[in-house]
């Protein structure tokens, strides 16, 4: 299924590994580590996150606990691993919401250029962009109670206008191209054209924008749980570990630094993957001209 998306547009030779930009390789490996640990946390954890052993409190990194223990004596490494599943899960689903609602709207806006649906959709997306995203996320989680599902919705809603505008801009550009004119001459409707011709060609841009929004969603989830509006206690989350560890920063600095660095590394890996993909697609998009 991926073949059509990844077919090179420009240079014929597409040797897999040696051709990939460095940032994609480095980011990809790092991200796989996080993704694997998130997947692993569903089945196995080095230590049981729910078991509190107060006497083991604030132990530094040691052989038993590689990254030390927090203020309840829980192992920080296993907290991070189980936190990874929450953070990545929330980010994946909120990007999913953004794409599933944003892209179809964007394509219809592009298809119906200069008439009513386009205006309404654009005004709606401008309004959504005008809404202060963090304030609204707080409102949503406050109204419906803090939980994973609510933070997914709260963050997901603000991905919609981003994908909408991107798919509309790229779509408009493609509607002027020759093969769309040919398709229109074959009597294909706007819906079929959008599906067969426009979507496959804007897929690379969506993928790049998707990775960027993915990293922003991870940060968003961390911020929400830092404010206490994210996942509930049995589910550990990076943001909440940070907010709890904030008061112990002088007593046990590692409890504050380790989750912070994990967030940075995870978001950095996703950004590097995004940067690498952009380089990959840019190098392909250059057309050999006479």
């Amino acid at each position: 299924m991926l073949r059509p998306f990844l077919t090179p547009v420009g240079n014929p030779g597409f040797r897999f590994f040696s051709d990939l930009p460095l940032s994609l390789l480095f980011g990809g490996v790092l991200f796989l580590i996080f993704a694997f640990s998130a997947f692993l946390s569903l089945f196995w954890l080095p230590y049981d996150v729910t078991h509190l052993e107060i006497s083991f409190r604030f132990q530094g990194p040691s052989l038993a606990h590689w990254l030390g223990t927090d203020h309840f004596g829980r192992d920080i490494l296993s907290m991070l691993i189980s936190g990874a599943s929450v953070s990545l899960g929330v980010a994946v689903f909120s990007v999913f919401i953004g794409v599933m609602i944003g892209v179809p709207l964007g394509l219809t806006a592009a298809a119906r250029y200069h008439c009513l649906p386009d205006e309404i959709i654009m005004r709606g997306s401008d309004l959504m962009l005008a809404f202060p995203s963090l304030v609204s996320a707080i409102l949503i989680t406050a109204v419906f109670g803090p939980s994973v599902l609510n933070s997914i919705i709260a963050i997901g809603i603000f991905n919609i206008p981003v994908f909408l505008r991107l798919s509309r801009a790229k779509g408009l550009h493609l509607w002027e191209s020759g093969f769309v004119k040919a398709a229109r001459m074959c009597g294909k409707g706007a819906f079929r054209i959008s599906l067969e011709h426009i979507l496959p060609n804007i897929a690379p841009f969506l993928i790049i924008q998707g990775t960027l929004r993915f990293s922003l969603c991870i940060l968003g989830e961390a911020t929400l749980s830092y404010l206490g509006l994210g996942a509930h206690p049995p589910l550990s989350s990076w943001g909440r570990m940070l907010s709890e560890a904030q008061t112990f920063i002088t007593l046990a600095p590692h409890t504050a630094f380790v989750p912070g660095i994990t967030i940075v590394l995870c978001v950095l890996s996703v950004n590097l993957v995004g940067e690498g993909l952009r380089e990959l697609f840019d190098s392909q998009r250059v057309r050999p001209r006479s």
Binding site: P4, F5, T7, P8, V9, G10, P12, S177, G178, F179, K181, A182, A183, R184, M185, C186, G187, K188, E196, H197, P200, N201, R287, P288, R289, S290
Partner: protein, 520 residues
């Protein structure tokens, strides 16, 4: 005092572009560099101007007044460019900075080189613009590039290049994007520069007509594998037969359809006083802008009609209306008596830019079989039938059946245009609209495409509507010619009659411009 290139070779990544080329240009001499598209002609010019991207690996020397430009550092290069050597580029539409006025852009070269004050720099700029053919240049100074036509922009580029009277001028295909009239002006000015001001000109082009018109002293032919051959002026006809630059000499005589169109049959296409108006959004002018005004004509079965006019005369709007991509404000377009949306199967089109008219994500078989979607409504073909039809079409246009599994980026410009024709033919339409189908191709693939079209026309007795601004092509191919100017049909007639005594003054200008270029 000459510009000489000695044993220069250039490669990007692993691909060798230029192999050990040597030539020299002395002041007052016109050197023409000819070659197929994509053989690296433009790279030579960019190499001389030291404007190549970082990925190029060069060996050899480029000598100007004794010092080697390859070894120069940036500060000396800034002094040399513009003052001793300057260049004109191919794409006038993007060569000018959209946010700066014409005056400033031309004056900038003066400001930078001779630290002149802004006022007298503008004064000199105004003088240079008048020199290159702008009447009343002073009011052009304040205008922006998007307010000018292609020809005017190219003249501005020329003004920029010659503002400081450089000793050498590189012109990289200056006229391909222009129409006949402005091409003639550019040619006159270049010739005046070399003769009167002793400027050494290196002209790069793939348009033989223009090259012979420049009465060049030296002609160099760059082959696709990067090796340069030199020919003298007298042996101009010799390289006419060179395999890579064969001209229209081997045109199929039988192109024009033998039997005259039978008047009794109902016309394939009938356009009755079509009107297409644009109310451009911000223009507060009272009368709307008319792209097409009261155009009526008809095309009969098997007839080849050409629609000619300068760019911006509304011929492409009319073509889009005929193809059903745009709705007419008034009037009607009929195919065999039926409106367009009922008779989509009867008309197909071949577009101008081969690189833009195919979805890069689809395989060739899916591209070619796209029009079969029209059949799905009444009887849907199974995939086996589709495959056979596609292979048949590919063989018909001279490609192999195995090509159907490939992706479009694996084909050259000429091959893509063949696939486009295969796509148009698959439904056996009555009329094929050729929207400047060959203007983006180089000479050789253009002639192959035209011969293919002639074979198909005689085989399937199909009608063609050829939309073009290239009169020499029209005179060879079309039965009848329609001339359009500013949205109106100013003249209509058979090719022979129109070329013999054109009635409308505008047609006469077009023909004179074409003839003066051909005679050279």
């Amino acid at each position: 005092m000459s510009l000489s290139v000695e044993h220069f070779s250039l490669s990007i990544g692993k691909k060798m572009i230029l192999q050990d080329i040597s030539f020299s240009v002395s002041p007052g001499e016109v050197v023409v560099l000819v070659g197929e598209s994509g053989c690296g002609k433009s790279m030579t010019a960019l190499a001389i101007m030291r404007l190549l991207s970082e990925a190029c690996v060069e060996t050899g020397r480029i000598i100007l007044d004794g010092n080697d430009l390859c070894r120069c550092r940036d500060p000396e290069l800034f002094r040399i460019r513009g003052r001793d050597i300057s260049m004109i580029f191919q794409e006038p539409m993007t060569a000018l900075n959209p946010l700066m006025t014409i005056g400033n852009q031309v004056a900038e070269a003066l400001l930078v080189h001779c630290q002149a004050s802004h006022i007298d720099a503008l004064h000199i700029a105004c003088k240079t613009l008048a020199e290159v053919g702008f009447q009343g240049a002073s009011d052009f100074l304040g205008r922006y590039p998007h307010e000018l036509s292609g020809g005017q922009r190219q003249r501005v580029c020329m003004a920029m290049a010659i503002a400081l009277c450089p000793r050498f001028l590189l012109a990289d295909e200056p006229t391909t994007a222009l129409d006949a009239v402005s091409r003639l002006h550019i040619c006159k000015h270049l010739r005046a520069l070399s003769v009167e001001q002793g400027v050494g000109i290196l002209l790069i082009t793939h348009d033989l007509g223009f090259a012979s018109a420049m009465s060049s002293d030296q002609v160099l032919i760059l082959r696709t594998d990067g090796i340069l051959e030199s020919g003298t002026k007298q042996s101009l006809s010799m390289f006419m037969h060179h395999d890579c630059v064969s001209v229209s000499a081997d045109f199929p005589a039988s192109f024009r359809s033998s039997l005259p169109p039978d008047p009794s049959l109902p016309p394939v296409l009938e356009v009755r006083d079509a009107v297409c108006e644009y109310v451009s959004f911000p223009s507060s002018s009272l009368f709307p802008f008319f792209a097409v005004k009261d155009v009526s004509f008809s095309i009969r079965k098997g007839e080849i009609v050409a629609l000619v006019g300068e760019s911006g005369c509304g011929k492409s709007t009319l073509m889009r209306a005929i193809l059903g991509l745009e709705t007419l404000s008034a009037g009607s377009v009929r195919f065999d008596g039926a409106p367009i949306d009922l008779s989509r199967r009867k008309v197909q089109a071949v577009f101008q830019d081969p690189y833009d008219s195919f979805n890069p994500r689809h395989r060739v078989d899916r591209l070619v079989s796209e029009p079969l979607f029209l059949l799905d409504r009444d009887r849907s073909l199974c995939s086996a039938e589709r495959a056979i039809l596609v292979e048949e079409m590919l063989e018909l246009v001279g490609l192999s059946a195995s090509d159907s599994r490939k992706y479009i980026h694996e084909f050259s410009g000429g091959q893509r245009q063949r696939i486009s024709i295969a796509r148009a033919l698959i439904l056996r339409p009555l009329l094929i609209v050729l929207d400047e189908a060959t203007s983006a191709l180089d000479v050789r693939s253009r002639s192959h495409i035209l011969s293919l079209l002639s074979r198909l026309s005689s085989h399937f007795s199909m009608a063609y509507l050829l939309v073009s601004h290239d009169l020499s092509l029209v005179s060879e191919v079309a039965d009848r010619v329609l001339v359009m100017k500013a949205g109106r049909l100013v003249e209509e007639g058979t090719t022979a009659q129109l070329f013999a005594q054109p009635s409308h003054p505008y047609t006469r200008d077009l023909l004179d411009a074409m003839r003066s270029l051909d005679r050279g």
